[in-house]
Amino acid sequence: MSKILNTEESNGLVIISTQGYLNKDLGEEIQSVANEFIEKGTTKFLINLSQSNIVNSIGASIMIELIETLQEIDGDLSFCELAPIIEKTFNIMGLTKYCKTFKSQSEAIEALG
């Protein structure tokens, strides 16, 4: 079952943790949650994909859309705990050129905080 496991905000950074297949449905769910925070003024997002083992190109393209939205407001999107296959897909789709990736959530919080 693909879903958002948890959303937390700390020092202006919103961390969205997911579970399962990062496809259209989960991608749109992330986008929708992120948009709600963007409307409230949040610009920094971290997506923890430790519980997501696979992504398809639609899911990745939705993440690109989210990056574009955040670029418009000088925000940024980062990812942490990517499975190797997800990292490979993100690389192929050029997503990693526009966002940062971190091995662990704590490493990401330290770098982004």
Binding site: N23, K24, N56, S57, T89, I92, G94
Partner: protein
Amino acid sequence: MVSLADINQVLSKKRNLDSKLVLLREFLNENNLDFCFFSLSKTFSKRFEISNFDLLEDYHQYSFFQDKQFGQIDKETYKKLKKLSDFDLKKKGVISTIFFFKKPVALIYLFSKKKKLDQLNNICQYISFYLDSFIREFHLQSKFNDKNNVLQGKLLEIESIFKITELLNSHNQNDLYQNILIYIISTLNASKGMILIKNINSGSYDIITSMGIDEDSFQKKIIRDTKGVLRDLKNSKSTMIVDDVKNYILTEFSQANCLVSPIISQKNLHGAIIICDKETRSGYSSFDQFDLRLYDNITKKISLSFDNIVLLETLSESKKSVDNIMSSISTGIIQVNILGEIDYINTSALKVFNFDKDNVVGNHYYMVFEKNDKLISLIEKTEESKEILFESNFDIKDNNDKKHQINLTISPVFDENEKNSGVVLSFEDLSGINKVKSTFKKYVSESIVDELLENETSLELGGSEKEVCVLFADIRGFTALSEKMEASKVVYVLNNYFQSMIDVIFKHNGTLDKIIGDELMVLYGVPLKTDNDPQNAVNSAIEMLFSLENFNKKMKLEGLPKLEIGIGINFGNVVSGNIGSDQQMNYTVIGDNVNLAARLCSNAKPGEIIISNSVYNFLDDKSKFIKSVPLSVKGKSKPIDNWLYKHKISIKLQ
């Protein structure tokens, strides 16, 4: 004064065309310039997401737009534009048409009361030039992106094929089907799917893995290849697109269409892979022929590997089963191959040597047993002689230099062509409980040892009073006999005699208390009570006499003298416990009843068994004993009633 640099700066602020134009209009209006943008194409408006400016849908009926318009607006154009738009156009405004691939796509209009015509023309020309470039660049970028997306897609497909090939070639079969399904689903942008495999016993198909599908809805359905999608796959044996999804049970949960592929093994259908509902940004769409081609490519690989997968699974199961057996036995097993490398080591062996499996398997026994020179020599000896070697109470050192004693067997291993393929070490650890067990076996029967170890509460050690049957067996005239024999022969005869007797004693659950010279003291009822300890003792005694007959025959053949014994048995309360000094302490029994058994024994003539009343009363078959004259024994004021068995007149035991 509006400069072209200012305009350029404003236009560069936003990425989207509509946003650029809105910002430009605001900027120009602030500088007393009227600005308007008209889209002349619905496609153009849609492509560039123009929402804040008019679309002149009917422009094409006016031929003048087909030509490049630039400069001050003429009367005719003014009139026509007025008809098409509500915008407050001024006659003295300037316009410029923007073309894309020779087709007019937009029109810009500019007016200012304060600007001269050439100034307006300059600004208008600059904006027109900027937008022309932007649109061309955007188009090229889009084309590039499209091509790039296609390439990315292809790259992902290739990656996926690599990954699936890797999975199929890997020896790690854990979650293999699940991983295969995940990669297929993600590569083809499907939203859900499943893999079914035929159950060889029932002939029906089981869903062995799925994603995004409620498997419970299939739980009570028997899936066969006699109907539906599986029948079609069985017949066609080729990958298919299923559009009429609602007609089949296996695809009815799909909202668009499905791709189905067979898993073929030895030309027969053995399974199927089904994926459903291709995802796009705007929702589900149908898989097309391109998807089918890729899917076919991937699934054919899986189908080709299916036999190997099944074979690997079977092998893995067998290995697991052998591992489980090997892990559960207490005997340590180490297999050494022909090159001297350790191929296998079981859990017990790891425990005895305190080894880490990763540091042992694959390494030469020279390295593994570097602390055990003698063991290395024995392995070498077996390798050379190709004969089984046994060593009892063999000392070894474990990884932490701790000493252990093992009973070791090293056997050469031969393959089906009788060619030597290494050696196997099997050993029993004699330390700890094993040592206790091994030692204990010298005194009581193996069944008692096992029962004691399994059921600790059955063991009652310590000083306590309990009912025990005590048997004494003594060799008659042995002292005189031994004086005529060589010492080594005396030992040989005695050892053989005791071995024969102790075998009988253990058979009847007796516990060897001690050997005093040529006398045996045996207990029945300790450390474990049985239903009838006196009967066991009597059965033992009678069989001991029969066993002695056989023993004597053997001795005669060897030119050695025959032995004769007398046996006394008494049953009653004794004190049991660890008796002795700090230096030496033994578990034994003491008391009047022990002494009485010894007295009965000393009164028994060769081939006789004398039992007390207390023993006689418990016998199931009393006919073998006759009442004897009461015996006066030391320590007893009254003569003791007793019963006699004479070996020669008894009926042979079965």
